[in-house]
Symmetry: C2
Subunit: 442 residues, 2 copies
Amino acid sequence: MKKILVIGAGRSAVTLIKYLLDNAEANNWSVTVADFSEELAKQAVNNHPNAKAIFFNVTDVVQRENEITAADIVISMLPPSMHIMVAEDCVRLGKNLVTASYVSKEILALDEKAKKAGVLLLNEIGLDPGIDHMSAMQVIDWIKENGGELTSFKSFCGGLVHPDYDNNPWNYKFTWNPRNVVLAGQGTAQYIKQGKYKYIPYHKLFGRTEQMSVLEAGEFEGYANRDSLGYRKAYGLEDILTLFRGTLRRKGFCKSWNMFVQLGMTDDTYVVENSENMTYREFTNLFFPFNNELTVEQKFCNYLSVSKNSEEFQKAEWAGIFLDSEIGMTNATPAQILQAILEKKWTLGAEDKDMIVMQHQFEYMQNGQQKKLNSSLLVFGDDPRYTAMAKTVGLPVAIAVKLILSGTINSVGVKIPTTKDIYAPVLKELKENGINFVEEKL
Amino acid sequence: MKKILVIGAGRSAVTLIKYLLDNAEANNWSVTVADFSEELAKQAVNNHPNAKAIFFNVTDVVQRENEITAADIVISMLPPSMHIMVAEDCVRLGKNLVTASYVSKEILALDEKAKKAGVLLLNEIGLDPGIDHMSAMQVIDWIKENGGELTSFKSFCGGLVHPDYDNNPWNYKFTWNPRNVVLAGQGTAQYIKQGKYKYIPYHKLFGRTEQMSVLEAGEFEGYANRDSLGYRKAYGLEDILTLFRGTLRRKGFCKSWNMFVQLGMTDDTYVVENSENMTYREFTNLFFPFNNELTVEQKFCNYLSVSKNSEEFQKAEWAGIFLDSEIGMTNATPAQILQAILEKKWTLGAEDKDMIVMQHQFEYMQNGQQKKLNSSLLVFGDDPRYTAMAKTVGLPVAIAVKLILSGTINSVGVKIPTTKDIYAPVLKELKENGINFVEEKL
């Protein structure tokens, strides 16, 4: 019997754990779900005969060593900064490790030791990073193998509300960590287009979107991610002329979100004075030049050069930023206050489902001809627990674990799933589980 | 004979040292000028009979202790982070210390020890901070003593080119550290107006200026500093309804500078790819959406919604951002590249003089009447060495040293010059040295 240790039973792990339990008997697995909340671990295990739930404190050196020693493979769904403690033990104790997080410098530094120990530390095998790497590399390798030369690669991904539950003017609800959504895009986006480097400061980001349609899901717009340039090396595309990665929202979202950015409401670097005694309306008024003759709504329209009939104003008003409701938060940053206001409106309802949308856009030369190919993914959540996000993060992790235990994946060292030996079998099983890309030659 | 140790002989110290040397014989002072560049120290001393120049390494514990032990008072004109080494020795060895820098947390933590040792650590006694504190507090205390209640305090300061040498379309030259000018305003400006808190994000800062005229120097505009709110406590104005501190530029400067901010050219958080092979023009093109049909000038006008006849475009073009000149810098940030471009245009000429402009604007209630009072300062540089900046930074330091040595100032502990025992005698001597405020009742 193979023993699988899953550390972390939070909401990104539910589909992962379900897959492991559903396949435990057939594969002769024993699954230990370890969490700082034993209750959460028990819920996830749900009395499954092949599984047990334990209280687990990752900083407890003895417990960590004992549990990892007892396992054949370890999955860490901890917050990213905590993986390193687990990874170091895994290398020392000769156990393979799988995570859905970006490779940190600390993890990367274990590469040589891991290779010597014959251990695989497989990271970035969730949704994004994860499915994006695998699906993109499958096409990139296919183009190269067929004599093509890639000239442009654009890739977009978004977590959104399922179309059937999309019933607000923003066409958006929080389907994942709201804080990350409020802070998204801060810094400077960097990419390359037709050989020219391009830099977009945060205050211009949401005004520079690209439009696209994705399969039957309709129209979207994408704003640039910070880190496109780094993918040249990761994907072996050092000489590519255009490389752009972006985040998807429904059409019109970015123009309205940009209002919050322009006002300074997404700032997380300082604490608003006296926020505990302030209303939403007073919070909004912080960001306009002083004027005691105009209403806050009039100041909004004047300052941002929009009319009261505009989409931006309507959405801002719907979001609640002009209400006299109490904020009731002490020592809060603008971003924290904005998040609290939006959570009243954008939280998924008890019956709501979510949706994951991904699209890769390739342009390449083949036999002297310019060709275009889109590869797109749509995944819908089953229900508020088994969300599209939980499925797309958890399934590739679970499948990779299965393939490592069966010996199909047998690399060693610190890896991400950009090579065929990993992505090919994982994508094949993802397809069997309903996560499949649709290719369209344009 | 009283021994004065001056640590640091850089350009902010030249007037300070000149004052000490000019007054050395009359006051029976011996002055030691200590610098890591012995050459610089020698130039400053210029063979004066009451002075000596020495090589000095502030991190050399033995030398530091020896020189401080031999002194009666110490002046540190080192970079701010280095004061603490000197301050700790001064407290331990029972010597008074004067600096023109903001009180750091580390220095503040020495307060109790300094009091026990009977030592004064006097900081923030240069221009800004320094003259601003003293001149503002003199009026604030006068208003309070005369039964007035301050309702509004605004204070502006700028270092600019002397009007006679103001011969470029920006009406600006670098009269101090160019890097600080390029980075100025980053973060979020915070202030209070008529009891309402106000926050201005960086990308809106240069679009929200106040206009004013200062004595015979003409028209200026001021943009908000980051830190106005902290002055409520420092100046004993906890309940004031309006408090605003700003930086002065000539009218029209901010609107044009805002172009660089909007483009992202002042960003210092990342390194531009391939800057070593790039021209000014290519640098500018980094910030526009890709377009290979328009010229860089056309893209500038479209992106920023200005015409080629606009003041902004004319100033940008004059600054050189469209030139085909090589940048010739490796691993440079946008801010570093912009600074290098502007240094070709904004460096003070060999004969140029500078100017310091300060204006405090007070509003107060007295005997049931609303009153307004402006207090303004204009200082012109004598020549490119004895600049207005060097005079206004160095003279208050030198005068304070004189007053401490004579016993006129006899506080102990960590101080800034916001109390009458310090500001009154210093302002009196500053006036005798040509640095005097003009009050205007409005």
